[in-house]
């Protein structure tokens, strides 16, 4: 009798469990991490944890290699084949939102109140995406280099001025111990240029586009501040301070740790290599060229596709993924800056006193998101070409004027991009 009762109870429990599993509404998710074992393992774990944690939704994940991801999403949007949950590169988000590939993310703002500013993707006054991490850039050097050259150590509170920075490069060049005084990373083409170099322009007081209206680049990309930036930028190459656009990618990847450059402008993702190479590695804040020190912000973020019929389910998954333990797991796994201070405290490198904690502080203090406009995807390419041309000796005024014309024409062609 007892056995019969036990069997009946087990059968009932199984029926309930299976029923619950069948009741889960399926959600699809695309992610850009294929090929990265660590990243894939973490995102798969989050999906598995979410699916097991509740009975309303069941997320299935499809991973793409990063280099093919954006094109795949755009093609799927044209074919009406988007998933429910997307991940999106921060600066690209406004374009996808404007094009209808994404819809506002129905997430309680209180959940992300403590998140780094660069991780929040707003467009048209609404939250569209949220990141589990951010990335930051610093001026990488060694304490021994500063000592040799007799330079003070800049801090967040007191960064180098533009003059101090150039004096440092002068001193490094005169010392003759390195191939070049400064490695800005010219071999890394594409998004690196606007991400890494537009903050210099913004520190001079210019910008890629006028953020007050987003209708023109005139006056900000070719005004006095931008001209000063352009002349300074060109002087890095004509003055022999930095390798030009023909830099070997291998030299970019390994040049600093091989001792070929005194200073390197590089991201937190490369920090561990530098720390492993030298025990006196320093990550210095960006210099202040007059309008405050700036670095880029916004990395990959999660959002809801424009065609999803279940935005509340997608938001439930995204909110689940925002837990500190996952933020810390991504940081420990792939070296990125966790989005919250509480998650940073759980990590090896970004906790207070950690080897890369300075990047969290940099992100908090100096980060400026790239122009929040659908036109950014075009403006980024125009900016990249202009900077490469100027580095190669093109006339600064003519090049910046031409870039302004191209950006303005694109904005006009797209009827102002919905601003």
């Amino acid at each position: 009798m007892k056995l019969r009762y036990l069997v009946a109870c087990t059968a009932a429990a199984q029926t309930l469990t299976i029923g619950a599993a069948f009741a889960q509404t399926p959600l699809t998710m695309w992610y850009h991490g294929a090929g990265n074992e660590v990243e894939s393992a973490i995102i798969n774990q989050i999906v598995a944890d979410f699916n097991a944690s509740q009975s309303d939704w069941s997320v299935s994940l499809e991973s793409f290699p990063q280099g093919a991801y954006n094109d795949s999403v755009v093609a799927a949007a044209l074919a009406g084949n988007l998933p429910d949950i997307l991940d999106v590169d921060g600066p690209v988000m406004p374009n996808w939102a404007w094009a209808g590939y994404m819809q506002p993310l129905p997430l309680d703002e209180a959940v992300i109140a403590d998140f780094l500013p660069g991780t929040k993707g707003y467009w048209d006054g609404q939250l569209y995406s949220i990141g589990l991490w951010d990335a930051a850039v610093a001026l990488v050097t060694r304490q021994s280099t500063l000592d040799t050259l007799g330079l003070r150590t800049p801090t967040l509170a007191e960064p180098w001025s533009g003059e101090e920075f150039m004096a440092a490069l002068d001193a490094a060049k005169a010392a003759g111990n390195w191939d070049y005084a400064f490695d800005p990373g010219m071999a890394w083409t594409g998004e690196w240029y606007p991400y890494a170099f537009s903050p210099f322009l913004q520190s001079f007081g210019g910008d890629i586009v006028d953020r007050s209206t987003y209708q023109s680049a005139d006056g900000v990309l070719n005004g006095d501040a931008a001209m000063a930036f352009g002349e300074w930028w060109q002087s890095l190459f004509t003055g022999g301070f930095a390798p030009g656009t023909s830099q070997d990618p291998a030299a970019r990847d390994n040049g600093f740790i091989e001792g070929r450059y005194a200073f390197s402008w590089n991201g937190n993702w490369a920090a561990l290599n530098a720390l492993n190479a030298f025990d006196d590695t320093l990550f210095l804040p960006a210099p202040d060229f007059g309008n405050g020190p700036k670095i880029g912000a916004a990395s990959w973020q999660f959002g809801v596709s424009g065609t999803s019929q279940h935005p509340e389910g997608a938001a439930a998954f995204i909110e689940f993924a925002l837990q500190d333990e996952y933020l810390a797991a991504f940081s420990n796994g792939i070296g990125l800056i966790p989005a919250t201070a509480s998650a940073a405290a759980m990590t090896e490198n970004y906790a207070e006193g950690g080897a890369m904690a300075v990047f969290f502080a940099l992100s908090e203090a100096q980060a400026l998101v790239r122009p929040v406009t659908p036109g950014y995807v075009v403006q980024a390419k125009v900016f990249e070409k202009a900077l490469a041309d100027i580095a190669n000796g093109a006339d600064v005024a003519d090049t910046l004027d031409a870039a302004v014309d191209e950006i303005d024409a694109d904005i006009a062609r797209n009827s102002g991009y919905g601003h």
Binding site: W30, A34, G35, N36, E37, E62, S63, F64, P65, Q66, G67, A68, D71, S72, A75, A76, L78, A79, G80, N81, A250, D253, N254, W269, A270
Partner: protein, 292 residues
């Protein structure tokens, strides 16, 4: 100054071989570099690029990059997908395009020359210009399968095969080749009462080995190297081909040794296919003057 006279056969031969060896080296060295680099750790690989060591199996040589490459991506699946899609497309393309070529050369029908001109004119249209309209088309096409009638061909093998079966270049190759076959053979078969299909299948095709090999190799290369089309029509890993799979290796810090190992592995089917059809391919090139 030495003069090469017509009688100086040995010297002429030596010069000819020297030139051929030089050309062979130019073509073979990238492959040698790829294979040798696949055996070295990244730091050594990058350091060796500035010397002849790049072409030699020296230093810290191992198969580590291969095992890591297998951990990073489902290489076997990608190669299987590419071989399947490529193999089926090549077979169907040879069948359909040879029939088309046969019809253009041997059958008399109204508008034949105009039709051929229109088909050949499509050779100048780059695929990129029709990629989006074709994507929209295949995303709406119906299909009858195990699940009944479904709409949309995305995420399947058929979407990678069917749009590529008919091919203007392959039709052109067959037309040119068939024009060179003796008309008497066709006429004799007609007198004997053979149907057009019998003539195509039993007379013309057995004589078409060289053009079949040429068309197969050219089509194989096009299909095996497909990137843009599968990128936009396939969102599921289970259908991805090798060239899209290459993107798995381009992370923030690129592991060049693994890239070279992957490239070495995916080059094997291409080389094997070419070597299998090499004689017929060269014979066809020699007879038709067509260069791929």
């Amino acid at each position: 100054m030495a003069v090469i006279s017509p009688d100086n056969h040995g010297l002429r031969l030596a010069v000819r071989y020297a030139v051929l060896v030089l050309i062979a080296i130019i073509f073979v060295f990238p492959l040698v570099f790829m294979v040798m680099s696949s055996l070295k750790p990244d730091q050594q690989l990058l350091a060796d690029t500035s010397s002849l060591r790049a072409f030699l199996p020296v230093g810290d040589v191992s198969l580590n990059n291969y095992s890591k490459a297998f951990q990073r991506a489902p290489i076997g699946l990608f190669v299987f997908n590419s071989v399947l899609v490529t193999g089926l497309t090549v077979l169907l393309c040879l069948l359909v395009c040879s029939m088309a070529g046969f019809a253009f050369v041997y059958l008399n029908w109204r508008g034949r020359d105009l039709f051929l001109s229109v088909i050949l004119a499509t050779l100048i249209v780059p695929f990129e210009t029709i990629a989006i309209p074709l994507l929209l088309l295949v995303s709406k096409l119906p299909w009858i399968g195990w699940e009944g009638v479904t709409i949309g061909w995305l995420n399947s093998y058929r979407v990678q095969i069917i749009p590529w079966i008919a091919d203007a270049l392959t039709i052109f190759l067959f037309v040119q080749y068939f024009k060179g076959l003796p008309r008497e053979l066709i006429e004799a078969a007609r007198v004997e009462g053979a149907t057009w299909f019998q003539i195509y299948w039993r007379v013309v095709m057995p004589l078409s080995g060289p053009v079949l090999a040429t068309a197969a190799i050219l089509k194989f290369l096009v299909m095996y190297n497909q990137y843009l089309w599968p990128l936009i029509v396939v969102q599921q890993e289970q259908y991805r081909p090798v060239m899209v799979g290459l993107q798995y290796f381009f992370q923030l810090n690129i592991a060049w040794g693994e890239v070279m190992a992957y490239l070495t592995m995916i080059t094997v089917p291409v080389l094997a296919f070419y070597l299998a059809l090499q004689r017929a391919f060269i014979a066809s090139i020699a007879s038709t003057g067509v260069k791929g």
